[in-house]
Amino acid sequence: MVGFVGKRVLHGLVSIVGASILIFVISRLSGDPIVLMLPVEAPPHVIEAMRRNLGLDLPLWRQYLIFAGHALTGDFGMSYRWQTPALDLVLDRLPATIELAVAGLVFSVCLAVPLGVLSAVHRGSWIDTVGKGFAMLGQAMPGFWVGLLLILVFSIRLNWLPAFGHGGISHLIMPAIALGWYPVAAQTRIVRSAMLDVLESDYIRMGRALGAPERVLVWKYAFRNAAVPLVTMLGVYFASMLGGAFVIEVIFAWPGLGRTVVEAVFSRDFPVVQAGVLFTSILFVTCNLLVDLSYGLIDPRIRRDG
């Protein structure tokens, strides 16, 4: 078991270091930040001085080693645009993104579980069809468009919900729907097929034969077992929510990490791009690691490969 955990943790670390190199290199190929930082009239010697000052004149590998060395001490450099530590900007934004990702996940699971269970119980009926249609619809619409439609209807026309920004629950509803509808289809499918298997298992049949009420059988016994596959997948879904937040945050002016990184890409603010992407990667890798480890705990056979 220790070996298994150690190997997985090592793989995770390799992923994070690799991701940091990848993002470092391509962000630096994406254009000259100096041009965006200095006034257009700035003469060449000033531009060169600035480049030296920021260490952008060094070979890429040396720039990376310097970056990595500092990053290990928690120093991700100063944001070119905000002229404050990039790490502070990122850490300030991280909670809002996590809040949004959790809200999106809660929304999707709250939809997927009843849909999956009902469509399994009423397999082949209209409930199954409608449930599937609803889930498929979410998978066919870009989240940002869902967000815009929600704003159009619930903010502009009906004036029920605040269109943008960060605040109480009312601010969370629309971004959570826009973010959480997409994975409903896949989650429903997981719950549905797990439920179908459990419902046909011997002990449920036995329960049925013994006259236990169907509702108790479905929700108390069958669902408990059927929920396992979905629960083990929650980490993966949470990670996908973090990725999805990049566009949704822009739509809803959500003061999160995604919007910050998108803006930083546009202004070639490398320190913020690096710190922002790296922290998202760490979250990603951690989530996936937890998922892997939980499989390992549930099913010892998995420990052998990978």
Partner: protein, 304 residues
């Protein structure tokens, strides 16, 4: 969007027990016949896409400042000349939706062929040879999957300068891992089959094993994956274009149309609704076809 990350995350799912064949009404419909609706719908999109400007009643880029914000034909103030109304510059939305189909399909076709080919090749090689090659490939896949796909795509798009070819490259880079992982898994199990093992023992050359025994067995999977990817690619392209790092004006993309219309959400709801409906219907029909394919020719892969 979550699409990329989400799609990649899927194959990591737990081993859900396979169910026995079921014959629900919906399923029986699929068993007995084609998904007529989705096929028709998707066919229409393909025709629109192939026709390009041909079907468009107006020049999709032509400005008419005097005719801005005309509502769709079925509303008061609308006219038959502009079926879906006009946008803020008086451009005909119907024509732009048709031309947008072309870009969406071109991007999807190139991106799917490229990422499918690269991913399948890498996956086959990694799965078949195992060892160091496999470890290297899997670490690469891990690294890429640990970066949110949209963040990676945004930075890449900034490097390559936004535009059609950049979008294709970015999507290829984002999705090859998806194919590689799944195909690798397939190959791992195929490799253990007796006839493959026998062929190897008998000294059949590796290219022949690939061509005769492996490739035919993964074609079904590839077909299903590719069909399921259409919707994801279209949404991914729309998201990139929406953020300003995808298709660039004057090219027409549904995502770009949404970005443009966003400022006038109060003046012209149709401008923000219609391109989105086009995306949704296209993706929905592609996904339904993909589902049907998966259930029909490869029922084991219900979890994709």
């Amino acid at each position: 969007m979550a699409e990329g990350a989400f799609a990649q995350a899927q194959p990591a799912g737990p081993p859900v027990a396979q169910s026995r064949p079921r014959f629900g009404r919906v399923r029986r419909l699929f068993r007995n016949g084609l998904p007529i609706g989705p096929l028709l719908l998707f066919g229409m999109v393909v025709i629109a896409g192939l026709s390009g400007d041909g079907l468009a009643p107006h020049d999709p880029g032509a400005l008419n400042l005097g005719a801005a914000f005309r509502p769709p034909a079925w509303l008061a103030g609308g006219s038959a000349a502009h079926l879906f109304g006009t946008d803020n510059l008086g451009r005909d939305i119907f024509s732009r939706v048709i031309v947008g189909a072309n870009i969406a399909l071109v991007v999807a076709a190139y991106a799917i062929v490229l990422s499918g080919t690269v991913g399948a090749l890498v996956g086959m090689v990694a799965g078949f040879f195992g060892g160091a090659v496999d470890a290297l490939v899997m670490r690469l896949v891990d690294i890429q999957m640990s970066i949110p796909s949209l963040a990676l795509a945004l930075v890449l798009a900034a490097v390559l300068n936004p535009g059609l070819s950049t979008v294709v490259i970015v999507i290829t880079i984002t999705y090859w891992t998806w194919y590689a992982r799944i195909i690798r898994g397939e190959i791992l199990s195929l490799k253990e089959r007796d006839y493959v093992a026998l062929a190897r023992v008998a000294g059949v050359s590796t290219p022949v094993i690939f061509a005769r025994h492996l490739l035919p067995n993964i074609l079904n999977t590839l077909l299903v994956l590719a069909t399921l990817q259409i919707g994801q690619v279209i949404i991914f392209e729309a998201s990139l274009s929406f953020l300003g790092l995808g298709i660039q004006s004057p090219d027409v993309s549904w995502g770009l149309m949404l970005a443009d219309a966003r400022n006038y959400i109060q003046n012209a709801w149709w401008a923000i609704t219609i391109p989105g409906v086009a995306i949704a219907l296209t993706c929905l029909s592609a996904n339904l076809i993909g589902d049907w394919l998966r259930d029909t020719i490869d029922p084991k892969r219900r979890q994709l």
